[in-house]
Subunit: 343 residues, 2 copies
DNA sequence: ATAACTAATGGAACCGGTTCCAATTATAAA
DNA sequence: TTTATAATTGGAACCGGTTCCATTAGTTAT
C-alpha cells in the first residue's frame, strides 16, 4: 500500500502538495495537479483513512443510534441513507441503544444509560449521530446536544432543537385516521394503541382521541387496548376487544402490523373485515396492499425524512450546504378495510 | 480529551507502560497497573481510535456487504451481529452492493463491479467483511478471498471455501417443502419461484423440482412462474398461474412474502386457501402466523447463522477462538395453508 | 554476595495523513 | 524594469496511539 510520500516522490513534488490535491484545498497549479493525479493512479493510491482521521480529527463516519422500539428503520432506508453519504465518502455505523452493558467499565451501573451509550459512540469515533426514535427524555437529549452538537433526531420532536428534528405530524395523522372512520359513519370505535412510552405513539393516540372528542364521540376505556406495534399484541388486542361487552364497528390500530394481526384474529373469530368491523392501519408498509382485505392506512414518507435528516447531519458535520426539507406530508390511503356505514 | 501522555505524566510512568496496560499485552507490575488505571479514571481517558488504527493497522471495524437481493437481513439480525461484536469493541459498517457508481474515479466503468465495491470497503478501512448473499460469482469471490482472506459468506456456499461459508441447505428445504405438498396428496403443483439469479433461489427451486421428480410428478412449464421474492411478483404470479389452462391444487412460493401476496390474489379471485388451492411459503417470517390462513412454511435459524458467521469472522480478523457452528437445521412449519387432499 | 536470568520500564521512532510557515515562482501594477 | 502582491510549493511538526530496544529493578541459583 502506497503513501503520499510515495506519490510525492513519483510525482516529483512535496508531500504537502500531494495532500493538497487529496483534500482539494489550497492552491495547486494545473501542471502539478496532473502530475500528482498520474502518480496516484500509477500507484493505485488510496489515502489511509485512519491517518486522515487522526490528523484531521474527522472520522468521516456518522452513526445511527436506535432501540428496539425506535420504529421502522429497515434496510431499504439504511441504504437510502448510505447513498446520501456515499458521494462524500462517509461511512455509517449502526448501534443499538438497547445494549445490555459495557464490560470495559465495571464501575458503571450494570445497565448503561442511553446517555452513556451515546457518549460511547462519539468516543469510539464518529462525527455525528442520527438519534432515531423518541426513547430518550428531552432533557437528556438537550444535554447530549450541548456536548455534541452534531446530532439530528429522527422521528422525534423537541421544541428547543428546531432544525435538528425530523418527524411527521403524528398527531395530525392520528386525527386523520380517526376522521376517516368518522367520515365513514363509524361512531363506536375501538383502538389498539402503539407503544405509548414514546411521543411518537402517544401523539398519534392523542390525535385519534381528539378527533373523536371533536366529533362528540365517546370511547370507553374498555375499547382501548394498549399495544406495542407487534403482530402479537395486535392479535391479542383484537381478541381482547371482542371479549368486552361494548360493541364497536371499527378499530384504529397503532401500525399496519398490529392491524394485520387484528384482521387475522377477527376473521378467525368469524367476523368479516370490513363488513362487520372496519380496520384502520398506520404506516402504509408494503404488506398493507396484500392483507385481506387490503388495509386503509396512513402513509408517511419515511425514507424522504431519513434522507433530509441525513443531509442536515452532513451539513452540521462537514460544513456543507445540502438542501434540507422539514415538512413531510402524510396521506390517507383508502383501500378496503374500512366500510362506509352511510351506504 | 486526554492522551496516553497525559495519563503517563499523571501516573508517573512512561507512555510505553500506559500503552501496555491499554492493550493488555506486555508485562506490567500490579503496582503500576493500579497507578495507571487510577490516572485513566481520573482523566476519563478513552484511547483515540484513529491513532490506534493507524499504528496497529487494525480498524476494529468489520463490514457487511449486501445487495437488494441478498435476502432477509433485518434490523434485528443486524443488532444480533452488533451484540456479538460489542465485547471486543468492534464496530460494524453497512454498505450496499448496489451502489450506482463511485464518482471519485471517472476512469472506471460507470457501474462499479461488485469486486470493486468490495475492494473499496476494505480500503476505506475495515478488518473483515461479511459478504451476504450469493450475487457475486464464485470465481470472483475466490479472487477476493485471495487478496482479503478476512471474509465470510452469509447465505452462500462455495466448495473451495469451506469454513468461510454459512448457509442453509436450501436444496433440502425446497425438497422438504415439495415433499410436504406431496405427502398431503397434491400432484398438480405450481410454483412461484424466488430470485433465480442467485444460488439461494436456485437451490430451493432445484430441491423442489427434484422432489416432484422423485415422486413421478410432472410440472409443466406453464405452472412455473419466475418471481423475485416481492409481494408484487407473488401477486402477479398467482394471477398468471390462474390464467393458464393447466389446473393445479397447490403453489410453492419462493418466500413468505410472495406466498402472502399469492393468497391475497387467489382470495380476491374467489378461490379459497387452502380448500381450493394450497400454499407453501418459505422463510417463516413473522407475518407467516398472521396471514389468512396462517402459512405453512419452512423455518430457518437465520439469526443463529448470522451470529456464527460473525464469530468466524472475528476469529479470522483478531485471532480469536470463538465457538462457531456450521450446521443450521431447517424445519417444516405446518400451519393452515396446506390442505390434506387425502382426507 | 554474586552471577545469571527474568520482569518491568521509559521513550524514540514510526504509522500516514494534515497544517502551517517560510521560501519560491508567477502575475500585475507602477 | 522594478516592486508589490498573489499563487505555488516543500517539508517539519504534529495528531495519539504501538512497538521495539536499551536500561533498570527484581529474583533465583550458586
Amino acid at each position: 500500500m502506497s503513501t503520499i510520500r510515495d506519490v510525492a516522490k513519483l510525482a516529483g513534488v512535496g508531500i504537502g502538495t500531494v495532500s493538497r490535491v487529496l483534500s482539494d484545498n489550497g492552491s495547486v497549479s494545473q501542471k502539478t495537479l496532473a502530475k500528482v493525479n498520474d502518480a496516484m493512479a500509477a500507484l493505485n493510491f488510496t489515502p489511509n483513512s485512519s491517518a486522515r482521521a487522526l490528523s484531521s480529527k474527522k472520522y468521516n463516519t456518522i452513526g445511527i443510534w436506535g432501540t428496539e422500539t425506535s420504529g421502522e428503520l429497515d434496510r431499504k432506508t439504511l441504504i437510502k441513507i448510505e447513498h446520501e453519504l456515499e458521494p462524500f465518502n462517509i461511512k455509517i455505523i449502526v448501534t443499538d441503544g438497547d445494549k445490555k452493558s459495557t464490560k470495559n467499565n465495571t464501575h458503571n451501573s450494570p445497565r448503561t444509560t442511553h446517555r452513556k451509550s451515546i457518549e460511547n459512540i462519539f468516543r469510539s469515533g464518529c462525527d455525528g449521530l442520527i438519534i432515531w426514535g423518541s426513547d430518550i427524555p428531552d432533557l437528556e437529549i438537550i444535554q447530549i446536544e450541548n456536548e455534541h452538537p452534531n446530532i439530528v433526531l429522527l422521528n422525534n420532536k423537541i421544541d428547543l432543537l428546531p432544525n435538528k428534528c425530523f418527524t411527521f405530524d403524528h398527531y395530525q395523522a392520528g386525527y386523520l385516521a380517526a376522521k376517516n372512520l368518522i367520515d365513514n359513519g363509524h361512531t363506536k370505535i375501538a383502538c389498539i394503541t402503539g407503544w405509548l412510552d414514546t411521543d411518537d405513539g402517544n401523539l398519534r393516540q392523542q390525535g385519534f382521541l381528539d378527533a373523536l372528542n371533536d366529533n362528540n364521540i365517546d370511547i370507553p376505556n374498555t375499547l382501548i387496548f394498549e399495544g406495542n406495534y407487534t403482530f402479537r399484541k395486535g392479535y391479542e388486542g383484537a381478541l381482547h376487544l371482542l371479549n368486552q361487552k361494548t360493541p364497536f364497528t371499527a378499530i384504529f390500530c397503532g401500525n399496519d402490523q398490529s392491524a394485520m394481526a387484528a384482521i387475522s384474529a377477527l376473521t378467525k373469530k368469524g367476523f368479516n373485515v370490513p363488513n362487520d368491523i372496519s380496520i384502520m392501519g398506520y404506516d402504509d408498509m408494503n404488506i398493507a396492499s396484500y392483507t385481506l382485505p387490503p388495509l386503509s392506512t396512513i402513509q408517511m414518507p419515511f425514507q424522504k425524512m431519513a434522507i433530509s435528516a441525513t443531509r442536515r447531519l452532513l451539513n452540521l458535520c462537514y460544513n456543507l450546504d445540502l438542501e434540507v426539507n422539514y415538512d413531510f406530508p402524510i396521506k390517507l390511503i383508502n383501500r378496503e378495510s374500512v366500510r362506509n356505514l352511510k351506504d
